[in-house]
């Protein structure tokens, strides 16, 4: 179990509404959630229950209509875009359902891309990218383009990109949604390994109940509200 149990993210009275074809949809309704540092959390619920919206709001990708998001001691609910970008670059790693690798870049370049705008030297970035690829057992694919990789390999590449900067939190939106069961296990095992070894907080949005064994906290949502935390 992770040692550090300080609060990493706290959502306080968070609300979010969308307007769709004239109708107002309440995506998040009075969400209160505390995520401790080093936890592995699954957010589950049926399609349209607001779990992805919650993930987006927790990471500053989307802003809540009301309430507070305290991320590592800082309220990001009303932060400027430049501040949010810096926060994401320093403290958050993203894993996407459809990988979102840049098709014209090789695996190692895709991973390095996160650090290109930083002051780090090219050699240092390359070393970090190689280390990240080694962590996800993908070093032999470093010069391959996304089109030359399988779904599982693409997702492991995405995972390497998410850890190259040693983030405090990894947010994964349906990371195994496009994978076969074997690749799903590989990716989830890697996430668990990262959670254990680096004490990184992991938040995974999924509709698959089979992943419950990986988490130490499961948040169930329905109709924009948290209905159960265990």
């Amino acid at each position: 179990m992770p040692v550090d149990k300080d609060t990493m993210i706290e959502a306080i009275d968070v609300n979010k509404e969308y307007r769709r074809s004239g109708a107002i949809i309440r995506a998040l309704a009075d969400i209160n959630l505390t995520i401790k540092s080093g936890e592995f959390i699954l957010i589950q619920g049926p399609t349209g229950c607001g779990k992805s919206t919650l993930l987006n709001v927790l990471s500053g990708i989307d802003l809540p209509d009301s309430g507070k998001i305290i991320f590592d001691g800082e309220n990001i609910a009303r932060a400027q875009e430049a501040r949010l970008s810096k926060l994401r670059r320093q403290k958050i790693g993203f894993v996407f359902q459809d990988f979102n690798l840049i098709p014209t870049l090789t695996a190692i370049e895709n991973i390095s891309a996160l650090l290109w705008p930083t002051v780090l030297r090219e050699k240092e970035i390359e070393n970090r990218a190689i280390a990240a690829l080694r962590d996800v057992n993908l070093l032999e694919r470093k010069d391959h383009y996304p089109v030359e990789m399988s779904g599982g390999e693409k997702q492991r590449c995405g995972l390497a990109r998410a850890i190259i900067h040693r983030p405090r939190v990894i947010l994964a939106d349906e990371p195994t949604g496009n994978l076969d069961p074997e690749s799903e296990k590989q990716v989830m095992d890697l996430l668990k390994q990262i959670n254990k070894d680096m004490e990184t907080t992991i938040i995974v949005v999924t509709h698959r109940g089979s992943l419950a064994s990986y988490a130490n906290k499961i948040v169930k949502m329905d109709k924009g509200a948290i209905i159960n935390i265990k």
Binding site: Y18, R20, I25, A27, G48, C49, G50, S52, T53, N56, I61, D62, E81, A82, S85, K86, L87, R88, R89, Q90, I92, G93, F94, F96, Q97, D98, N100, I102, T104, L105, E109, A113, L114, W116, P117, R161, H165, D173, E174, G224
Partner: protein, 167 residues
């Protein structure tokens, strides 16, 4: 590096810029030699019009075609400024390549005629001065294109990188 990997788009626009720089330079050369409002100046203004249209189209296309990449880069921590620099690099690199190609072609043209007939004075197809004037004008167009791209980049929200928007 990224611009070179977008081979089709890069080559097409690079060649179009090459042609346009030649067309504009040649028109300027004709205007200088025959300073009257006629075919030459009409050709010059047409080339400028096409040039500005093409520059803005290129900027618009780059942002539109790469909107998911831009959103992903925003998600992983790139600022608008970082992405603006990347796209400005795309635009300027293509223009510079177009310029270098036309200079190369003009040098080779002159060299070829000196080679086959060393005794007669060589008349260059277009003098270098109109080419440099044209290049300066095109750089100005690229500034407008970069401004347009910057506006478009601001409108790309990081949430686009995630497949399912909203609930």
């Amino acid at each position: 590096m990224m611009v070179l990997r977008e081979k089709k788009q890069f080559i097409v626009f690079c060649l179009m810029y090459t042609f346009l720089i030649f067309w504009t330079s040649y028109s300027i050369e004709l205007v200088i030699k025959t300073p009257s409002l006629g075919l030459a100046s009409t050709s010059f203004f047409m080339a400028l019009g096409v040039g500005i249209f093409l520059s803005l189209l290129y900027a618009w296309l780059i942002v539109r075609r790469n909107s998911k990449t831009i959103a992903t880069l925003k998600c992983i921590g790139w600022t608008n400024k970082d992405i603006n620099s990347l796209i400005s690099g795309f635009i300027l690199f293509t223009t510079f390549m177009g310029f270098f190609i036309i200079v190369e072609v003009l040098f080779h043209y002159a060299a070829f005629f000196v080679y086959i007939n060393p005794t007669s004075p060589t008349v260059p197809l277009v003098n270098l001065l109109p080419v440099f004037v044209t290049f300066t004008i095109f750089l100005f167009f690229q500034i407008l294109a970069i401004l347009l791209a910057n506006r478009k980049i601001l409108k790309v929200r990081p949430i686009i990188a995630l497949k399912r928007v909203g609930v």
